[in-house]
Each structure stands twice: as C-alpha cells, then as structure tokens.
C-alpha cells in the first residue's frame, strides 16, 4: 500500500501549515500581552512594564457596560428570530422539493454573500424612506437578517443527514405530525440548532459594518471599539475590552464545536 508509507507529511508541508497556523494565532495572542502593558500613550513594543490596574479601570467604566449590555440584548433577540426563521426555512428546503427551491437558498445566503455595506446602506435608506426612527429594533432587524443563514446552514445539513425513514417509521407507528416533530425530529436536530444559535449569537455580537448603518445614537460594543480604533482615546481600556471580547467569543465557538463534533463538522462551516 503506497499510501501507508505517506501517513506522515513532508517537512515542507508541515512547516507551511505550521507557519500558516502561527500567522492566524499570534496576532490574537498579542492582544493578551497589550492588556497588561503600563504604556498609555502609544502602542509601544515591548511593553515597558506589566500591570493589572487597567482591568479595574475598565470595570468601573459605565460606557463599556452600557455597550456590552446593548450588544448582548441585540444578539439574544436576533438569535431567537434567526433560529425560528432559519429552522423553518431549512425544514422546507430539506424535506420537500418545490419550484423555486434554489431561489430560496440563494435568498437566505444573499445577506452574507453580498458585502455587508450593501445590506447596511439598503436598510438605512429603507428606514429613512419609511420614516422608521433608529433604535435597538432597527439594529435587531439587520442582525436577524444575516444571522438566518448560520442557523439555516446547520439545520439543513442535519436535516439531510437525518434519514427520512425515521419520520416515516414514526408516522407508521401512529404518531401525528406534531408528535413526530417533538419526539423524532427535534431530538435529532436539537444540537445542530443549538450550535447554529451559538454561532448566530457570536456573529451578531461581533457585527459592526451593518450596525454602523442601522444604529442611531446607541453604541454596541463593536461600535464602541470602532470609535476607539478610529480615534484612540483610552488605549489601555480598549486593550482590555479587546481581550475580554476574544475570551467571550471563544465560549460559544467551543460550545458549538462540542455540540456538533460527533459525526458532522458543520458548525461554522458555511456548509
């Protein structure tokens, strides 16, 4: 068997893959160092000294807490909406064949296939035309629109893997549609939905491009960070917030991974 001998990768490939992974991770690790630096006025490297005082400074900042609260609220509601819409759509597309099925998949993917700025400016001008004042709800409207696709992708992949004969068996045994849904379909797709929901939450929590157009005076956490990026005022606080954001977004990603790792690797796959 020629391929048994090739179980080990060539040195060149290993180095290329390793460097690629390092390129992906080192910049994020750098953030962790900067959160402890004593330097206030510049991005000087190496840090002159280390301190933990910025953590308490950040903790006592009401604007950071407000932004965080708004982000969590927006992400939670958008995720809920996206989970309902995405699951319904996935069920329809995966279980039945109908005219325009391809168009529906395209419609779901479009909000993230098109650049975010287009979604953002389109929604903004629509709100202006319809005289809808900007509020937390206009932010949610935008976020839910592009979160649908994440839930949809996870659900549709799981629906495809769930064999139709299970459902037929349930029906044969006398269960009606809702009993089948509750006892057969939901347990089968549950973890995929949860994973999709977590990713949708992470997506919404982090979104900035569409949000700049659909938010009025409110600042979500990404908007707060963007202002700091464009006009740095409190670099140490920004460093700490950046580090916390990294840690917080890791949790749903790890969760989604553990929920979907048995068998299918589709969690955030865009699959």
């Amino acid at each position: 068997m020629p391929f048994d001998r090739q179980k080990r990768a060539s040195l060149g490939l290993t180095i290329a893959a390793g460097c690629g992974l390092a390129f992906l991770h080192l910049p994020i690790l750098l953030i962790f160092v900067y959160a402890f630096t004593t330097e206030e006025k510049s991005y000087r490297w190496p840090p002159p000294d280390l301190t933990v005082k910025w953590f308490s400074v950040t903790w006592n900042r009401p604007d950071v807490w407000e932004a965080l609260g708004l982000s969590v609220q927006v992400a939670a509601i958008s995720t809920a909406v996206a989970m309902i819409l995405g699951t319904l759509c996935a069920a329809a597309v995966a279980r039945t064949k109908f005219f325009g099925r391809e168009t529906i998949s395209l419609l779901v993917i479009l909000p993230i296939a098109l650049p975010g700025i287009i979604t953002g400016i389109a929604l903004r001008s629509a709100f202006n035309i319809a005289d809808i004042p900007f509020s937390i709800w206009t932010i949610i409207l935008g976020h839910a629109t592009f979160c649908v696709v994440v839930v949809y992708n996870n659900a549709v992949a799981r629906f495809r893997r769930t064999s139709g004969s299970l459902i037929e068996a349930s029906m044969d045994l006398g269960a009606n549609g809702f009993q089948t849904l509750r006892h057969v379909i939901l347990p089968n797709i549950g973890t995929a939905l949860l994973a999709g929901g977590m990713l949708a939450f992470a997506l919404s929590f982090d979104e900035v491009i569409v949000t700049t157009f659909t938010a009025g005076q409110q600042a979500t956490l990404p908007i707060w960070m963007l202002e700091e990026l464009v006009r740095p005022r409190q670099r140490p606080v920004t460093n700490v917030v950046a580090m916390v954001v990294v840690l917080v977004t890791f949790l749903p990603i790890l969760g989604a991974y553990y929920l979907t790792r048995d068998g299918d690797r589709v969690a955030g796959h865009g699959k």
Binding site: P2, F3, K7, A9, L13, T14, A16, A17, G20, L21, L24, P27, L30, Y43, W45, P46, I84, L85, A92, F98, I104, L107, V108, A113, L114, P115, G116, I117, I118, T119, I121, A122, R124, S125, A126, A144, T145, V148, M171, N176, G177, F178, L199, L203, D206, V208, I209, P222, M225, L229, V245, V246, T249, F250, I253, L254, Y257, R265, G268, G270
Partner: protein, 315 residues
C-alpha cells in the same frame, strides 16, 4: 398502550391532530406555513430595501441645491465613469484579487495537512485552530494589526532587532504599494485583509480535500503517478471547487469592506469607503447606491462563474 392496533387508524381528535392530518394530506399547506415567515422577512425587509436602494441609483443629485431629483436618469451611472471613481473601483478589485490569490496559497497547505494527515486529537486541534480565528471578533483582529503595524509596534521592533530595517525600508520604498510606514501603505491594508479573511478560504478547501477519496490517489499511484503528478492531475482539480468557493468569500468580503482601509492604509478610497462617504456627509444617496451596484454586478458574474465550476457543492 393497545396491543392490537387497527390497520387504519381512526382520525385523531383535537385541533393539533387535525392540523397534522391536513399537513399530511396537503403538503403544499405545510410548505406554505414553513416558508411563509422566512420568505416574508427576507423578501420584504431585505429584498425590499435592496430594490429601493437600487431604484435610487437611477435618480440624480442637483449639483447646485444638493437635493435629490426624483427623475429616472442614468446620469449617476455616468459619474461612476469619472477617472477618480474608476480608480476607486479598479483599486478595490485589484486588492480583492490579490488578497484572494494570497489567501489560496497560504490556505492550501493548512487545509491539505488538516484533511490528509491530522488525526484524532490533532484533527480537533486543527479544526479549532481555524474556527477560533474565523469567529473571533473582526474589530479585535483589525485592532491587533494596528498594534503590530504601528511605528513603535512589534514588527518594526523585530526588524530592528534582526538588523533588517533596511529591508523594510526597501519594501516601503517601492512606489504605489509602499508608503511612509506599514500602517499607511497598501501592504498594510493587504496584510490585514489577508489575515481577516484567510479562515474563510481554509474551510471550504479542507472540506473539498476531505471528499477526495483515498482510493483515487492510490489508483493514480498504481498507474505510476508520482506524488507531484497525482497532486497536479488528481488532487488539485478535485480541490479546485473548494478554492473557488473560498474565493467567493475572500473576494466579496474585500470588495465591500470599508473599515480596514480606513484604519490601516493610505488615504486613497476603496469602494466601501466611497459608498460610506457619499451616503453620509455628502448626502449623495444616488451615487452611493450606484457604487453599491458595482460589487453586486461583479459578485453576480463571480457567482455565476463559480456555479458553473461546481463550487456551490463545495460550500
């Protein structure tokens, strides 16, 4: 529990059971119930606003009063052809193409290793190693690069420690792509784009590589194909749809981004920034709308081509 169930069940009682029977007998009703809410949401809110935006691109702005004239005209599209605006479009497309190519080159070894050689625990590590950067905050990633590329930052420090500052200066001295420092040059913008979108390329390539059956590679080897030949004639063609699928993301995301070039890069505009500037302070919604049509048209052609190459099955 009845032991002897009748062969044909009596119709169930209750609203739910009757509803369930209705869905069974008329699948189209079920389909309408399932599809109704998402299609209404996406069709009305999303497509509605998109079309409203496109419609505005056919209006024009009065040069003296600055007010929008609600008459159908192609004048705004004509403005896109001004050399300054053509420059913006060309610059953005070139950047998107370069970023896509570089992402494909860097992504391929990672994806290949993950798909072919990583096993068990390593496989999981690789997977998370790609997922975590993919999903970590976009702004934090951009911020990290602002730290790295800053004049007093780590990259300049490394070059200085290695006594290679001359090399950095030489690279920055290249006309057009260079600049005063990395954080205000196209090289900086390119690096950040590449970093931020790279995971979007790795995942589809890896998925495509994992679907290449080992038996095909063995067959190629059995017939005398060396590793190089097998790669060129078997592995790569089969992975190509994955590369194209990934390129959809890297290309489209670069086309529409306006935050990265604003934070890291020269002051010359990209399409996204032009849209942002025209709709914001300038209040020239028609021209902003016309500018958004450019990426839509480019992506339309791109997706059409990608579909023909079978990239959608690799998504």
């Amino acid at each position: 529990m009845t032991v002897l169930a009748p062969a044909i069940l009596p119709p169930g009682g209750g609203v739910l059971a009757r509803l369930s029977d209705l869905f069974w007998r008329r699948p189209s009703v079920l389909l309408a119930v399932l599809l109704g809410p998402p299609v209404l949401w996406l069709g009305v809110i999303y497509l509605g606003s998109l079309l409203a935006l496109l419609a505005q691109s056919f209006f024009s702005i009065d040069e003296f009063s600055g007010l929008i004239q609600y008459e159908w005209t192609l004048k705004t599209y004509g403005e896109l052809l001004h050399p300054a605006n053509l420059d913006i479009i060309l610059r953005t497309v070139l950047m998107a193409a370069t970023v896509t190519l570089a992402a494909a080159v860097i992504a391929f070894p990672i994806a290949y290793y993950a798909a072919r050689y990583a096993r068990g625990r390593w496989k999981a590590l690789f997977y998370l190693g790609i997922m975590l950067p993919l999903w970590s905050s976009y702004l934090v990633k951009v911020y990290a690069w602002k730290l790295i590329l800053a004049k007093e930052g780590i990259l300049n420090w490394i070059f200085a420690k290695l006594h290679m500052t001359w090399l950095l200066d030489a690279v920055l001295g290249i006309p057009v792509i260079g600049g005063n420092s990395l954080s205000v040059s196209y090289i900086g913008t390119f690096l950040v784009f590449l970093y931020v979108w790279l995971p979007f390329m790795i995942l589809p390539v890896q998925a495509a590589l994992e679907r290449v059956p080992v038996s095909l590679l063995e067959a190629s080897a059995d017939q005398g194909g060396g590793p190089r030949q097998t790669f060129r004639h078997v592995t790569f063609p089969l992975a190509l749809p994955g590369v194209i699928a990934g390129s959809i993301f890297t290309f489209s995301l670069t086309l529409g981004d306006y935050i990265i070039p604003q934070i890291v890069g020269s002051s010359r505009l990209f399409i996204g920034q032009a849209v942002y500037a025209h709709q914001g302070t300038a209040g020239n919604i028609p021209l902003a709308a016309a500018f958004t049509v450019v990426p839509i048209v480019i992506m339309g052609f791109y997706l059409w081509g990608a579909k023909r190459m079978g990239a959608f099955d690799a998504l």
